[in-house]
């Protein structure tokens, strides 16, 4: 029943409030720890802690499963339904698109909005569960520099999102030739620059869904509710921007939904790729800035 801790792990606060790890030698003399900065080490620790909590069937398992399903579904729809279905993605295209060199990733692009919604929901759930379970109380007590908690959680969710994007890409790209063959779509042009096309599609999808995620993350921090975050995020991006576009199409060009569509498509008629990428990064950075500010300043009363 020994309740003491090894002195190696003991941390002390210096006069500036930065935590400094010290090690005690056998003679008791402290020596400064080397390697990464204490802040970086703590952020990595927080990220690993988040991973421990999120790597469970009900979060990661279901989330990745749904994303894989949507990637496959969108790819099937892209090849079987062609352009007869409703618009579901920036590249929900015609048979011409499918036979071009981009055809191999057409399904992936079509799945972008669906995957984005799932990622938004997962990021929002990861945040709001901290409030609903009370975990936020003990994490803020344990690490009062709250920006580190935000950074650690963002790091974990970003890695998770990149894994999800990779899984979606693999499923879509593996299914595409089989479905093309079944649908009678020529794949002759697909071999030209295949790796570059797939890598580019993966990158664009990753950027888009990461921004979707940061939007869900921010709404969840502000509202402390997954339901509000998911409904608000989806409602805004899928409904509000759509309605606004019917009234004033030019207004929507620079709003998140249109920008992310342009990113996924590698640029489109309304917004070139470079500006779309820059604006997406700007929205993502703004979302992270707002969530960090709100989380750092607000009382933890949950």
């Amino acid at each position: 029943m020994n309740a003491t801790i090894t002195t190696e792990a003991r941390t002390h606060a210096d006069s500036q409030g930065e935590v400094m790890t010290t090690r005690t030698t056998t003679t008791g003399a402290p020596v400064a720890g080397g390697g990464p900065s204490p802040a970086l080490k703590r952020i990595v620790g927080i990220a690993r802690s988040e991973t421990k909590r999120l790597a469970r069937w009900t979060f990661a398992g279901v989330g990745l499963g749904v994303i894989a399903f949507f990637a496959l579904l969108a790819t099937v729809v892209a090849f079987v339904a062609g352009n007869t279905g409703p618009r579901m993605g920036a590249m929900a295209g015609s048979s011409v698109d499918l036979e071009s060199s981009l055809g191999i990733v057409a399904g992936l692009a079509m799945a972008a909005d669906l995957i984005g919604i799932v990622i938004l929901a997962l990021w929002a759930a990861a945040v709001s569960s901290d409030y609903s379970t009370g975990w936020v109380r003990i994490t803020v007590q344990a690490e009062p520099r709250r920006w580190r908690l935000v950074a650690g959680k963002l790091l974990t969710l970003t890695v998770f999102t990149l894994i999800a994007t990779t899984i979606a890409t693999v499923i879509s790209v593996v299914a595409a030739p089989l479905l093309a063959n079944a649908a009678g779509v020529s794949t002759a042009a697909w071999s030209a620059g295949t790796v570059g096309t797939i890598a580019s599609a993966w990158f664009n999808l990753a950027v888009a869904v990461l921004v979707w995620g940061t939007i869900g993350f921010t709404i969840a921090i502000v509202t402390r509710s997954a339901i509000v975050a998911i409904a608000g995020g989806i409602g805004y991006l899928m409904v509000f921007e759509g309605l606004l576009g019917m009234v004033a199409d030019e207004l929507t060009t620079y709003l998140p939904g249109s920008i992310l569509d342009a990113v996924v498509a590698g640029g489109n008629a309304t917004l070139a790729y470079g500006p779309a990428l820059a604006l997406a990064a700007l929205f993502g950075a703004a979302a992270i800035g707002i969530s960090t500010l709100v989380f750092s300043r607000r009382d933890v009363t949950s």
Partner: protein
């Protein structure tokens, strides 16, 4: 724990309002390091708000405070020396108890070997690989305490640690608190029931409606126990006459259940019986009584003029 200052917590005029509601009002405390400090008050008295301010979860609207010699404006300077259970235990229910503790160990930068140690301290080693959703309430409380003691804290803050526990669970937690304090820690335990921490506390803080009623050693509160003798005449028609007799002797009385409560030392019971007998009044009931600590607490927290009677309160 050699670095622990003599005073674990010091507050000066610490206040917190939520809109028009004053949750904590000008709290002045000086809590000694080491031992168990009971923090009691009715529900909504400001205990949790005070604890949250000390832990850096919410900011005070006025006043200042120090924890382990560091200002609460910089909780990062003492966070690694403090462990806490704040209100209800907080876990991810669908992962194991061990995984929850490991998650906090990773977040705090505590070595994984410590996880086994704390699970053993709270006697959860055997059930550590079960999902938390399968735990009883008592096991969840113990797991929350395991997480709180992960950093081997100099100061341990346990907010309502016995909430929802059965009597056996309450005793278990009390013993654990005593054990942790005996190892040199300062343990602040809040509760809305004095009886829950009476057995373990060395010092006591009593607040009501955000105001301090008492702070000091438990023994000092015990000195404020009221003692009295309940008397009842055989013939109810003699009630008024009995009152006149006792008043004539300079005794304070108040009506009580068909008789009187005479504010006198229980050792005076014989004399009170004699006074009645001299007046030809036969007493049916003469019962010496002392308030329990719980009675003192209830009287104190129910009496709006409480602070005026308490010498140690600020």
């Amino acid at each position: 724990m050699d670095h622990t200052p003599a005073v674990a917590v010091r507050t000066q005029g610490l206040s917190r309002s939520f809109g028009d509601i004053v949750a904590v009002k000008e709290l002045d405390l000086e809590l000694p390091a080491h031992g168990v400090i009971g923090f009691v008050g009715p529900n909504g008295s400001g205990k949790s708000t005070t604890i949250r301010m000390l832990l850096g979860l919410i900011k005070p609207t006025d006043g200042q405070a120090e924890v382990l010699g560091q200002s609460i404006s910089h909780p990062e300077r003492y966070a690694d020396r403090v462990g806490a259970l704040i209100e209800n235990p907080a876990f991810v229910p669908d992962i194991t108890g061990r995984a929850n503790v490991e998650a906090m160990a990773l977040l705090r930068g505590v070595p994984m070997s410590r996880v086994d140690e704390v699970l053993e301290i709270v006697d959860l080693t055997d059930r550590s690989d079960s999902k938390v959703s399968d735990y009883s309430l008592g096991m969840k409380q113990r797991l929350a305490i395991a997480i709180a003691i992960l950093p081997d804290p100099e100061l341990l803050v346990l907010d309502e640690p016995t909430n929802g526990l059965d009597p056996a669970g309450i005793v278990e937690v009390r013993e654990l608190i005593r054990q942790l304090a005996d190892e040199g820690r300062t343990v602040i335990v809040s509760s809305h029931l004095l009886s829950e921490i009476e057995a373990a506390a060395d010092h006591l803080i009593v607040i009501r409606s955000g105001e301090l009623l008492f702070v000091g050693p438990l023994a000092e509160l015990l000195e404020q126990e009221q003692r009295y003798v309940d008397v009842e005449p055989e013939d109810q028609a003699q009630l008024e006459r009995l009152a006149e007799c006792y008043r004539a002797e300079g005794l304070d009385i108040e009506p009580e259940n068909g008789g009187y409560r005479v504010l006198a030392d229980p050792a005076e019971a014989g004399r009170l019986n004699g006074i009645a007998a001299d007046a030809g009044i036969l007493l049916r009931r003469v019962v010496p009584r002392s308030e329990t600590l719980e009675d003192v607490f209830l009287r104190m927290t129910a009496d709006p003029d409480g602070p005026a009677h308490l010498s140690r309160a600020a």
